[in-house]
Amino acid sequence: MSLGSFIKSKLVPASLDEQIDRIRKPIGSLGYDPWGYNSEVTKVGFGITRQLYEKYFRVHTEGVEKVPAEGPVLIVANHSGQLPLDGLLIGYALAAREHRPRMPRAMIERFFPTVPYLGNLLNEMGAVLGDPTNCAKMLANNEAVVVFPEGIRGSGKPYADRYQLKRFGNGFMHLAMKYNAPIVPVGVVGCEETIPAITNIKPLARMLGLPYAPVALPVVFPAKVHLNFGDPLIFDNDDIPEELVAERVERVKAAISELIDKGLHDRKRLF
């Protein structure tokens, strides 16, 4: 038995293997799709994520069934916690749901493809460079796409700004309108506490070519995470001026804000 298959046998129980096989993806003959998704690597990745999801962050998920089972959909959430753990946990929640699971694709920072090993690994697990063309092609492919419209403004913010939504880009709304994709808002609570950062050293980040350089302990705290999925919001594809698009974005932002408040209210303790 090779090392790879040994690790897989330890991490991926038959049920998870079956669960991922049940999710149909348009992949080529060697198990890849154009963005680099690979079902075998995803199985191992999800084996590890399951431990994080169930044991480490003890994620409490509500409303995951609100994500439509088929067709294009944008899952829009608040971004927090320096590392893209929120995307990973949302992805797992949807892939592991009992009834008609889906394997969503997360849009990641432009910085990741330049990082050796990590960039490829994220791609193999379904994450995709956050480019509007990628998102458009995926929606055209009937995929569920996880988007964080705050981008690094959200994930790189210091602990003092926790649960404050930063500016949302409008790009996701244009794509949702064009591809007739419902938007499912998600409020993530708990990820802010996983890596609390005091500040961001911008000159250091610039020097190292990183999106941000947080001053934080090199530990990921086992904060309890709450994921609240909201009702899908549907927007028509009328030719409207940018201010009205921004208004629609504000509606999504407000929905996420409400879901965050619900999560904060439901949370009994940090850990």
């Binding site: 080529g28 890849y32 154009p34 963005w35 690979n38 050796p116 960039g119 460079l129 480019d131 092609k137």
Partner: protein
């Protein structure tokens, strides 16, 4: 009884494996003339071949002697061959001369083979690149300038002289028996360099499928630019593994390190200016071509990689 006149076609790049396959497919129904500026080749008694530089005056004599209906221009010098200057002269100036002659002699069909390299491998590339995406290769390396310039030139002629019916094909990696490009050399070798931690997605098209695509494109007068790639993808390092190729990791960061190593190694199959193609993916969308020309590749990715596994050093 009068036989209908057979179409006469000029095929360039005759010494290459691809041109020879295209010629084999067309020679039953068309009269072919093959040229190559690298070497004189023999392609049978019924196909006259010439070794001639497009920039020389004698090239026009071919147009005078034969009454060409169409030109299939496959004779692009690849970026791993010759010097920059010679490539520019042949690929850009030579092609311009050829297109001028096509216009002068009333040719009504031109198919030009380009490459997906023109899109350039940059970290921010989306997957499934469309034909209208910007050509970023020039920003990466001076060595890819002639490829992009050839495209620009063909584009100008495409719009300026619509009667030429120019079709530009941008194929993904062409591989298979007899192919001498850098990726084919890599897959055929026993050991191949990889950039540690980078395994970009790649697309491969079998040389026979590519020849079919060129013949299809030639027969249907649909001008424009088309990507040619199958709907199948594999990561570079996985492809090497399936070809039975040992991987030699090269330190990949900071970017100047692998560049220096590759410059020192001077590998023909892994030139430093193609380094970014082994780091970032350039996945093209071949659906427009497939729909327009009713094209479906027949050889699977597994079959292609198996060929390299079973035929180490087939060239």
């Amino acid at each position: 009884m009068n036989q209908p006149r057979r179409p006469q076609i000029l095929v360039t790049g005759a010494a290459g494996a691809l041109a020879q396959r295209v010629i084999n497919r067309l020679k039953e129904t068309c009269d072919l003339v093959a040229v190559d500026f690298r070497e004189q080749v023999y392609l049978g008694d019924d196909v006259p071949t010439y070794c001639i530089d497009f920039n020389k005056r004698g090239f026009e004599d071919l147009y005078r002697r034969y009454d060409f209906d169409g030109v299939i221009h496959l004779g692009r010098i690849m970026s791993s061959q010759e010097t920059r200057m010679r490539r520019y002269n042949a690929n850009v100036l030579g092609s311009q001369r050829m297109l001028d002659l096509c216009h002068k002699y009333g040719i009504s069909r031109v198919v030009i083979l380009s490459t997906y390299h023109v899109y350039g491998a940059v970290a921010y590339n989306p997957a499934l690149i469309d034909e209208d995406a910007p050509l970023k290769a020039v920003g990466l390396s001076m060595d890819l300038i002639d490829s992009v310039e050839l495209e620009n030139l063909a584009n100008i002629y495409l719009w300026r002289f619509p009667d030429l019916n120019i079709t530009i094909l941008r194929p993904c990696n062409i591989v298979g028996p007899g192919v001498r490009n850098s990726i084919s050399r890599l897959l055929a070798s026993n050991r191949a360099p990889v950039l540690a931690g980078f395994s970009p997605m790649m697309q491969f098209i079998h040389i026979d499928d590519m020849a079919d695509a060129i013949v299809l494109a030639y027969h249907k007068k649909q001008k424009g630019i088309f990507n040619v790639a199958p709907d199948d993808w594999v990561a570079y390092q996985h492809a090497l593994e399936l070809c039975g190729c040992k991987r030699m990791p090269i330190l990949s960061i900071p970017p100047v390190v692998p560049k220096l190593i590759l410059k020192a190694l001077r590998l023909k199959s892994f030139p430093p200016y193609l380094m970014s193609f082994f780091k970032y993916p350039v996945i093209i969308d071949g659906r427009l071509f497939a729909q327009t020309f009713d094209f479906k590749p027949k050889r699977s990715l597994k079959e292609i990689l198996r060929f390299y596994r079973e035929n180490k050093r087939p060239i």
